[in-house]
């Protein structure tokens, strides 16, 4: 009786786990989980009735403190049967059922999208849109997509260099507008803002772990622990002559993770 109930409990727990994973209706998941719990209760209760000692035992009742109950027979703790092993399986099934709520607390993989879209104007943190001539040569500023100032992981460094010093591959030639070039400000090492531009050496410097990125070669890491270039934002000009993005970054910004390639 109790073994059968325990079997039901195990199957119901597994069923609940599968149903939850498949996003079945709440009622189904809940009913299976409740059935599993009740079946386990029946199993334990029935076993308690079966195992009950034939006669009632006594223990002296002192007014205070502990006393000595009759000693445990030796075989009680040592006894192990199929039923006991079934309980271990049941606990494993319950743990499995508990996994789904745990997993649902996070997404896997985490996707790092930014707020950049094709045609979005580059604006300063104060919201001012920028034209190619607004920055002096050697200048740098943080920009966001218009209307999305402060959007997570969307901060971009806009740099103005002399026309033609950038040494980019042919596919990135037209990502630069009159010496204006833009890179993600989120360090590819551990996500700090890459806040410092050394304009004499064309280097971007991260104050957290001293990664240095070579701007002229597409912000490739040249020193420090970073392993990946800062993603570059392709720039364009809109009809009114303001700097705009050609689209979101071609690659994820910020620190890497296992799922980045997906």
């Amino acid at each position: 009786m109790s073994a059968a109930a325990l079997l039901v409990a195990i199957l119901a727990a597994l069923g609940a786990a599968v149903a939850a994973a498949l996003h079945d209706p709440v009622v189904l998941v809940g009913l299976l989980a409740a059935l599993s719990a009740f079946a386990a209760a029946v199993a334990a209760g029935a076993a308690a009735v079966q195992l009950r000692a034939p006669n009632t035992l006594t223990e002296p009742r002192h007014p205070q403190g502990p006393s000595a109950p009759p000693p445990l027979p030796d075989d009680v703790l040592a006894r192990r049967g199929a039923f006991g092993r079934l309980w271990w399986i049941a606990f494993a099934a319950f743990a499995l059922a508990g996994l789904e709520p745990l997993i649902s607390l996070g997404r896997m993989p985490r996707r790092n999208g930014t707020a950049w879209r094709g045609g979005a104007r580059l604006v300063t943190p104060q919201g001012t849109p920028l034209r190619p001539d607004d920055l002096a040569v050697g200048g740098v500023t943080t920009v966001f997509p218009e209307g999305r100032v402060d959007a997570p992981e969307s901060a971009v460094l806009l740099l103005r260099l002399q026309d033609g010093v950038m040494q980019l591959g042919p596919e990135r030639r037209d990502w630069v507008q009159q010496g204006n070039v833009a890179f993600s400000k989120i360090c590819t090492h551990a996500g700090c803002p890459v806040a410092i531009f050394r304009h004499l050496t064309y280097e971007l410097y991260c104050p957290c772990h001293q990664s240095v990125f070579d701007v002229l070669h597409g912000a490739q890491p040249v020193s420090g622990p970073a392993t990946r270039a800062l993603p570059q934002l392709a720039l364009d000009l809109d009809r009114d002559g303001y700097l705009v993005a050609r689209g979101d970054f071609a690659e994820p910004v910020g620190p890497d993770s296992w799922w980045r390639t997906l």
Binding site: G65, D150, E153, P193, A195, P207, Q210, T261
Partner: protein, 441 residues
């Protein structure tokens, strides 16, 4: 009169009188170094006391955290002092645990039967550090936000489950809207309760198994002082001294002035950016870590995974397992109730000194950028230097410490022998004296 009645009330119901008498009569061995753990304990008491106060004025949300900290700091001197004392207590708490751990390590107090107490103590150190980190992140200022961002990257770097783990903490993306509320409940509830439970077990074991002592123990007895009144007054003195120290520090020395850093945005950062002292070794490790990103089955394993996740895990395992490692080396598994002077086992001194050096090197590496500016050298040169010092400097210091300890032990033993040698002086032909073994009579 009232006390007596209270005692009677409980005794009639619980039979507690005998037990109370036992507790009050219990003996505790005495040595100055035994008060380090108590200092840590009372730092925790101060943390709870100031922390409870802070929960009434702090707003745990991304929108309100920073503003509420500034508001209550400016509103009254008490608010400012509470925050200062809370932070200083946290810093002192972890420092006291580390020094206490060192005392236990070098005097071999972790030996059988106290391995469980050791493990609980190491868990306390880890929990306390994480509590400290979550706590100083709560004001949501630029500096701590940067630390959180790095912690997020380290979580993210775990193979397969990294994204899930980071997402769970953040409540979606980064910086997630639930990050501060999550940190808050972790900091004021989960972790303090864990610390309380670990402390209760740790101290319960010290009580139950009795404290170790330096006094030799041929008769297998505890040599110590009564709990009441000797020890009670001593520990009371330690409590008030602790309260005095952290209050004085809080009153005089500004710590973590978030009002100078400003509120957090993921695109702003302070320069320099370095964490509280107990987290600095991990920051240093991230700076020294190799710039390699391996791929496993085509999936990246980011560079931060090795120094940020693997290194601390290995360090933790090494320290937790120390009693068993020690057993393997000494080939001794007897009960060790009597402490040994550190010099008694030079090799252990060497291992301890090497570990401390490794930690110090990583901690120093966490401010390599400032050192580079101060010393007018390139930061990459310092990185190279620390990369060399981390393994080789640690080993060298360990060896020197072991040799020194052996030397010290030898000279002690020598002096002891000298004192006990009795010689007979005999006139020789040149008119001087010769020492000669005394005639056995």
């Amino acid at each position: 009169m009232i006390l007596r009645r209270v005692d009677r009330f409980f005794d009639e119901r619980l039979g507690s009188d005998a037990w109370v008498r036992y507790v009050f009569a219990k003996l505790y061995p005495d040595h100055w170094s035994f008060y380090l753990g108590e200092f840590a304990l009372y730092c925790f008491v101060m943390l709870v006391a100031t922390g409870v106060w802070l929960t009434f004025v702090f707003q745990p949300s991304h929108a309100g955290a920073f503003a509420s900290v500034i508001a209550f700091t400016r509103a009254t001197p008490v608010g400012y002092l509470m925050r200062q004392v809370h932070h200083w207590s946290a810093v002192a708490f972890i420092a006291a645990i580390v020094v206490h751990l060192g005392r236990v390590f070098f005097t071999a107090a972790f030996r059988k039967p106290r391995e469980i107490t050791w493990v609980l103590g190491v868990l306390l150190l880890v929990t306390a550090s994480v509590t400290g980190f979550t706590g100083y992140s709560l004001p949501d200022d630029t500096l701590s936000g940067t630390g959180l961002r790095i912690a997020d990257a380290v979580l993210l770097s775990i193979p397969f489950i990294g994204g899930w783990a980071a997402d769970l903490l953040n409540g979606g993306g980064y910086p997630g809207p639930l990050l501060i509320p999550h940190l808050y409940v972790i900091h004021v509830y989960f972790l303090p309760v864990t610390i309380g439970a670990l402390l209760a077990l740790h101290l319960g074991l010290v009580f139950y198994q009795k404290h170790t002592q330096f006094e030799p123990d041929p008769a297998h007895v505890v040599v110590g002082r009564r709990f009441w009144p000797d020890y009670t007054l001593r520990t009371l003195a330690v409590f008030f001294a602790t309260a005095g120290v952290v209050t004085l520090l809080g009153a005089l020395i500004e710590i973590n002035p978030v009002e100078n850093y400003g509120p957090y945005h993921d695109w702003l950062v302070t320069n320099p950016a370095a964490p509280d002292w107990y987290a600095a070794w991990l920051d240093g490790a991230l700076r020294l870590g190799p710039a390699v990103e391996w791929r496993i089955f085509g999936h990246p394993v980011p560079a931060v995974f090795w120094p940020g996740m693997v290194l601390p895990t290995l360090a933790f395992l090494l320290v937790v397992a120390w009693p068993w490692i020690d057993k393997t080396i000494t080939k001794r598994d007897e009960v060790g109730d009597v402490l040994v002077p550190p010099t008694a086992a030079p090799w252990r001194v060497g291992v301890g000194a090497a570990l401390v050096t490794a930690g110090v090197v990583l901690t120093l590496a966490a401010s390599d950028d400032q050192q580079a500016v101060g010393a007018h050298v390139r930061v990459t040169a310092l990185v190279t230097l620390y990369r060399i010092l981390f393994p080789f400097g640690s080993i060298a210091v360990g060896l020197i410490a072991a040799l020194l300890a052996a030397e010290l032990r030898a000279s002690r033993a020598g002096r002891g022998a000298e004192r006990e040698r009795v010689v007979e002086l005999v006139r020789n032909a040149e008119g001087g004296f010769d020492a000669r073994e005394p005639h056995s009579t």
